[in-house]
Subunit: 419 residues, 2 copies
């Protein structure tokens, strides 16, 4: 029998009534002939409550104890869903991470899944049981201690389990009904994409679309698990497998319909800040000199630009997370400015990054220049540009963000139904 993993997040299981709704979605797939593993998060709000207790106990809490406390949230949901499924006449049992086991590294609080033994789950499927799995948690094999995967880790659990049991697909049920061409709160004409390629989704996730955790998308890529994003609030009795009706399939097949759209979506974020080192002597090693110091301080750098050199001097710019802005500037002033002989460090926290994403960009020329033209027509100045094979990102003044997103959305016909 084909296998399916279904994952439900915290808002989808926030009350026993909502858990009942989840059970109806599960029952539909069982009736459709799947062996189903359901991965659940903690009831909405519970994880926050547990985290607050840990912090109240000590701001310097041991991550291993934090994991023991916080993993209890998913344990509760898994048991409750199993009870509801039983009541609906389905065989089901709950599985904690350590019972399967899902073995992880020992980085408590942000552990990485290492191996999942599917044998016990297989035996459960043979007994006709739905496997109800507590997401977000695992066990470190050497210490035997509970671990958690960090926020959003249930998505990663679901994908890893799908790979381990050879599931046909992993359906991620959330509070939005799919991946959109852009955020509908910014562009009301944004459309749900019924399909998106894995690579596009990876770019969308990394560029600021919050629908899926980037780690779960990476995992899906590594193990070639097709994903689908769906809303748990869609009626449970529609034929959810009819693509047009619900959700977004994240696929590894690049079929013709996909090629037709050059740009699939517009991503954006305003979490970044720009920093420029001015008047840097243009000699080998300056990028390493500057960014090495930043990396040593565990600060992640995103867009990086080195300007053309003039009179043996150049300017070097990059973006970091806005929370790291002050720390980065202080660090550069203390450690890099004197030794490098640069003129000054300047920065700007009022920026945003807007990106167009689409695998069609591979085979179409002029997509980036069309983006630049559209922005120029709106009078928006581009401060930095960064490109990859399937996306082009620009850094612009934060106040133009909505304008840029809407203009690009329209210019690339994203408000039109796919041909």
């Amino acid at each position: 029998m084909p296998r399916l993993v279904m994952k439900f997040g915290g808002t989808s299981v926030a009350t026993v009534d909502r858990i009942r709704n989840v059970a109806r979605h599960v029952a539909r797939e069982v009736r459709a002939g799947y062996e189903v593993a359901v991965v659940v998060s903690a009831m909405s709000g519970k994880t926050n409550e547990l985290v607050a207790w840990c912090k109240e106990a000590s701001p310097l809490y041991a991550q291993s104890e934090y994991d023991a406390v916080v993993a209890s949230g998913e344990q509760v949901t898994s048991g409750l869903l199993a009870i509801v499924l039983n009541e609906m006449g389905l065989k089901a049992r709950s599985w904690q991470g350590w019972q399967i086991p899902i073995e992880t590294s020992d980085q408590h609080g942000s552990a990485r899944i290492q191996t999942i033994d599917g044998a016990r789950l297989d035996a459960g499927f043979k007994r006709g049981e739905v496997a109800v799995i507590a997401g977000f948690q695992g066990i470190h094999p050497e210490t035997g201690r509970l671990t958690t995967l960090g926020r959003g880790g249930s998505d990663t659990s679901a994908v890893a389990i799908a790979a381990a049991i050879g599931a046909e697909r992993c359906d991620i049920y959330t509070d939005v009904d799919g991946v959109y061409t852009t955020d509908p709160r910014v562009e009301p004409d944004a459309r749900r994409l019924s399909k998106i390629s894995f690579e596009e989704m990876l770019e969308m996730a990394s560029l600021g679309s919050k629908v899926l955790q980037i780690r779960s998308v990476e995992f899906a890529g590594k193990y070639k698990v097709p994903l689908r994003v769906l809303s748990s609030f869609t009626p449970w009795d529609i034929d959810i497998n009819e693509e047009a009706k619900s959700g977004t399939l994240i696929t590894f097949e690049e079929d013709e319909t996909m090629e037709q759209a050059v740009v699939s979506g517009i991503a954006f974020n305003r979490d970044e800040a720009k920093i420029s080192v001015l008047g840097v002597p243009d000699k080998p090693g300056i990028a390493y000199h500057i960014l090495g110091a930043v990396a040593d301080a565990n600060i992640e750098v995103d867009v990086i630009i080195q300007n053309l050199s003039k009179d043996g001097k150049t300017d070097f710019s990059f973006t970091v997370n806005r929370n790291e802005y002050a720390r980065t500037v202080d660090l550069l002033k203390a450690k890099v400015l004197p030794s490098l002989g640069a003129t000054d460090i300047v920065g700007d926290t009022k920026i945003c990054k807007v990106s167009i994403v689409g695998i069609g960009m591979r085979s179409h020329v002029g997509v980036a220049s069309k983006m630049f033209r559209v922005l120029s027509e709106e009078g928006i100045n581009i401060q930095m540009i960064s490109t990859s094979e399937i996306k082009t990102s620009v850094v612009i003044d934060e106040k133009y963000m909505e304008l840029a997103v809407r203009a690009l959305h329209k210019a690339f016909d994203l408000d039109q139904p796919a041909a």
Copy 2:
């Protein structure tokens, strides 16, 4: 190093602040030179919340899933206490039942502890760690599933762990500061007993004193673990090991001070109801005929009396839990009355049982008759009498309960400090 088990109930760990207070009690014992295992219950109210969710999920919930849900409460407390102990500069780690492991039977919801492997706890003590153990829970070795021991099971966990690690004593911290000569809400002159024998405690617990779960006392008896009942709300910085100051030691040594008091305490309960089968033909097998049917329906019987026979007929009376009264009467009327040829079934739910308990009764004659005299002087009619080596129980009209308790408390000098 000597070892000590300390157990804290739900009200003692109801908030992070109270958990901090618990940690101070633990730190005191560590400083006193003990290797300490702490057993904790779920935060007060949490178990009820979890149970309510299970019932909401389905009134017919599977006990195995109930266990997965409910065991999470103790998991949270164990992690939080470990965090607080760490903050106080003590090495500590949390242990779930399955991590030790505490192996139980598979009677989910009321599992019985079968074996506890102390090896991992030993290794923890060698590393200088306080072991913070989630009470109430275990694992069934064959299925690998979580089990719980039933309400009050954390006391049983504590005693069983004390036996497994060879602890010198098991201290049960609760919201009362010891075992009293009787319930202070009924007799304000009731005194805390600084010592009580194990057998007396067993009688007190079974007769209605709610300080300790009877199963934990039985367990303590089986494994010869001395118990002490203490209040977690006593100041944590007094010398708690000075017996006179706090708590009640439940001991296996019967020393001289104990012999001096003929009666150690007055227990009572009003949870029972009396049922009489009238006009039963007095022939062999009637007790079995009546009580066999009751036992088959899983109804527990307490006091049993068979009256003197008269004209070949007798009356047969016994008590059951008040909740089972109606069911038992119905059962007897349907199944026993016709086949037995008895005249009638009558009953009374407005009764109570009052008992005097004391190992001194072994070596003193006339204790029971003194009890009967005291009650007679108060005009209290005795309906049933039941005796054992160290207790005498009477069933009387419920309305005389307080009067009987106070009169007996005074008559046996329980309001006077021990000589």
